[in-house]
Symmetry: C2
Subunit: 309 residues, 2 copies
């Protein structure tokens, strides 16, 4: 397929590597003069990660083009991945230009993490083709893609997008309704709220909270989600056993959770706590941490490929 | 060391395998007549898992004894891991019997997930030796041990317990204050509350929520905790950059999170959703799921041993 990627930042370049790895042609649109020079090394780095997961040759630059204009990138495109800034007015402008160049049936998937598809598609000529397809960072390594339809999205657009992403080893989920944070970021926000509360109210340090997740529940969550975890937690009675016997415990624990303010004092406490944690880790650079994360994700994907989950 | 484990259920048998693997002697106390016959296969199964992580011979049954009485198991013990039912009156009775047989300086660590150490130690003769050392299931595989002191716990008891667990490749964190859920289960409860809300309010299915976690944020959480994740999410600006620019987004997303009731209708919706999920997975048995989880955890621990995190 010929895929137009609108925006060549962190997410756009990661998508580009993935799409290229699965044989697609990619046309990137970005108005910034420096876009190509910045994007190419990022695509190359993501490509190197993907090459550890399957047998890839060198980056196929013959299938990759860069364009200053959205209309040019959309010429002949059969799928569009929109990765522009998360501001509605900018999206509207970008989509108007894209639609001017696209055949009416071409699907446009927005990578937005914070906007609602109904708002994004509000001014479109062919809004039925627009949906949200939200990845987790970095998209070329984390398989999750959340699909969200707006009021005017055609069900067939969601079905087609699902096929498109699953053909590239993505794991798709479908939000039944558009809500802030889609699905996954609602869960991360809920966990993070309590992580902030515990620091702000002196229950635990930033470092110990991070250690607790990465050496505790995070290990299980890499393998199974919260419902399945409690299905096993229910012993022979399964999920029903868990909910009948321990559901009330959960509900009472919910009462004890905090509702912190993200005020100046909290922010400074969080930053100081993270500095302590980084010092304990030997003050690794952001690059070193990203490399460790990506190395870990690649190993995890290999590991999960061999598990019946 | 000579370790008494009070209670030979799921947690006690898992601890037993771990302690034996690190060369300790283990005396298990359980009043039930069937205890030994039930515990031995469980210890054996956990031992088989540990044998995949390091070079272990057959289960050293010469270092493992079973006792109907707590006092008998505590004879000569140099550390006690309490794994009884999570009811305060039972704990008080168990600890009175343990103290009758123990030297006064021997540390008693409670595996409780829901009780507070100040309540557990309230009636003890030597309360300074009591602390909570809470593992995640299964303790022989998940490295996290949360240490929590009560009002009367001596700081030295926490230090000694820390050394004890870390010598067995456990990762310890210390709660700065005793609160329901300690640290990790506050985070799992926060995430689970939103997972329940999304099902109850029709935002997503049980299956898609589980898939979203295990193919999305769960992969990152197996490698790093939420604060470190957002440090990387902040780009070149690090955690400060994230909090200054996206902190308000988080705070507004918190407003959109739900506060579900764990009522009958919700419980039935959750159970029906999990049945759909299990059907999609080919209706695996609980045993098969546990084996997949443990196989995954063992592979994850190997993987993390090679990462600089």
């Amino acid at each position: 397929m010929q895929i137009a990627i609108l925006g060549s930042g962190l997410i756009g370049t990661s998508w580009a590597a993935l799409f290229l790895a699965y044989g697609h042609h990619v046309a990137m649109a970005d108005p910034r003069e420096s876009a190509e020079a910045e994007a190419l090394p990022a695509i190359d780095a993501a490509w190197a990660g993907l090459a550890l997961l399957s047998d890839l040759g060198p980056l196929p630059t013959d299938r990759l083009t860069f364009h200053r204009s959205i209309a040019a990138a959309c010429q002949g495109a059969t799928f569009v991945q929109e990765c522009g800034p998360d501001r509605l007015t900018i999206k509207h402008t970008m989509l108007a230009e894209a639609e001017s160049a696209l055949a009416p049936e071409v699907i446009i998937a927005s990578s937005t993490s914070s906007l609602m598809p109904s708002d994004i598609q509000a001014q479109m000529t062919h809004p039925a083709r627009l949906l949200v397809a939200h990845p987790m960072n970095p998209p070329h390594l984390v398989p999750l893609v959340e699909l969200v339809a707006g009021d005017k999205t055609a069900p067939d657009s969601v079905s087609q997008a699902r096929i498109f992403y699953e053909a590239m080893a993505r794991v798709t989920v479908v939000a039944l309704r558009e809500e802030p944070g889609h699905i996954a970021n609602r869960l991360t926000s809920a966990l993070y709220r309590e992580a902030v509360h515990m620091v702000a109210s002196g229950i635990a340090t930033v470092e110990d909270i991070d250690k607790a997740v990465a050496w505790g529940p995070g290990l299980r969550w890499a393998l199974m989600g919260p419902h399945l975890v409690y299905h096993l937690g229910g012993g022979a009675g399964g999920y029903r056993g868990y909910l009948e016997h321990l559901g009330p415990t959960q509900a009472s624990r919910w009462q004890a959770l905090g509702t912190p303010e993200m005020d100046r004092a909290t922010i400074e406490t969080l930053i100081a706590g993270l500095q302590d944690e980084l010092a304990q880790l030997g003050n690794p650079s952001r690059r070193a941490l990203e490399e460790a994360r990506d190395e870990g994700l690649i190993a995890l994907l290999r590991l999960k490929a061999g598990l019946p989950l």
